[in-house]
């Protein structure tokens, strides 16, 4: 009975706190990159995605897991205890490619916080297509390069942004780096 479970945070309390702090700041400053870590990651997830999952997911947060990342399922079950659910019931979605945002819960006008958060693993946050970000938290427009977004991402985002205050938030992970695109941000191809 062998399996490939790997460890989680080396120091669960402080690592989770510092990762949480990084996620908060990433959400407050859209497009700003933060390095998170302290955990070994199960294939095919990157270290940043694993750290964000350990920080945010627990037995009370239903999680949708990209079928392409099914290999990481025992690790997620062991370390977080999160239930794996279909897209339309998820509080968090762990994705290797952008899922259909219209299928995820986007909250209600009374409870916009119940909108889902997508943890999206991309190839890079340094190279790739450039996006121009603007909105709350940004004194002047910021630039974020993302390698691994679908071609029509700006149109998809336009729709999501238009739902405000409802909508989906995005946490992008590449290697040990995260950046966030909260629903409030406006995105243009730059």
């Amino acid at each position: 009975m062998s399996n490939e479970l790997v460890a989680g945070f080396a120091d669960p309390v402080t690592d989770a706190q510092s990762c949480f702090r990084a996620v908060l700041d990433a959400m407050a400053r859209p497009g700003k990159r933060h390095v998170v870590g302290g955990t070994s990651a199960p294939a095919p997830l990157c270290a940043a995605a694993a750290a964000v999952l350990l920080t945010l997911a627990d037995h009370e947060t239903p999680l949708w897991l990209d079928p392409a990342a099914g290999q990481a399922r025992p690790w997620i079950a062991f370390h977080t205890g999160a239930a794996i659910v279909p897209l339309d019931q998820a509080a968090f979605a762990m994705a290797l490619s952008l899922p259909d945002l219209t299928e995820l819960p986007d909250g209600t006008d009374e409870m916009p916080e119940s909108g889902a958060t997508v943890i999206l693993q991309v190839a890079s946050l340094v190279t790739g297509r450039r996006f121009l970000l603007d909105g709350p938290g940004l004194r002047r427009p910021a630039v974020l390069s993302i390698d691994g977004m679908p071609g029509d991402f700006t149109a998809i985002w336009q729709r999501n942004h238009g739902l405000y205050p409802r909508g989906i938030d995005l946490i992008l992970c590449a290697g040990d780096t995260i950046a966030a695109l909260p629903r409030s941000v406006r995105i243009q191809e730059g």
């Binding site: 062998s2 460890a7 399922r73 025992p74």
Partner: protein, 155 residues
Amino acid sequence: MNDPDCLPHPLPARRRWMAVLARAEPDSIAALLDHCGERPAHTVLRGPEGGLVMVRGRAGGGGSAFNLGEMTVTRCTVRTETGFVGHAYVAGRDGRRAELAALVDALMQDRDRTATIEARVITPLETRQAQQRASRAAKAAATRVQFFAMQTMRS
């Protein structure tokens, strides 16, 4: 075995050895384990970390469940270099005890080692625990008061 939807049913045999390990003192586990040859390398996947569990009971064994109180529990999960994952939940705050119990649980799942560990670790621990229980029960029995006898004496 990698499909999480069909996790193995908690095996009665495993339940037995995990119970024996949870009651054992860390020094005796370590001493017995040293008789089984070289201790294999292992990595800790989680813990040892402490927490609380709520102990629940039923009055008379048949009443509705009530919360008796919380107790301290330490848990640990280790993985041997051969890929076997062992878990342990032990009462108290002794991290070393949880880690040793988890390691032995992992080794017991390795078919090549089961017989050795069973004979040299689990069985001796179980015998010792049974003896301790019997001697404690005998001491307690000696102090037993026969209320029926006192009542008859008074009359």
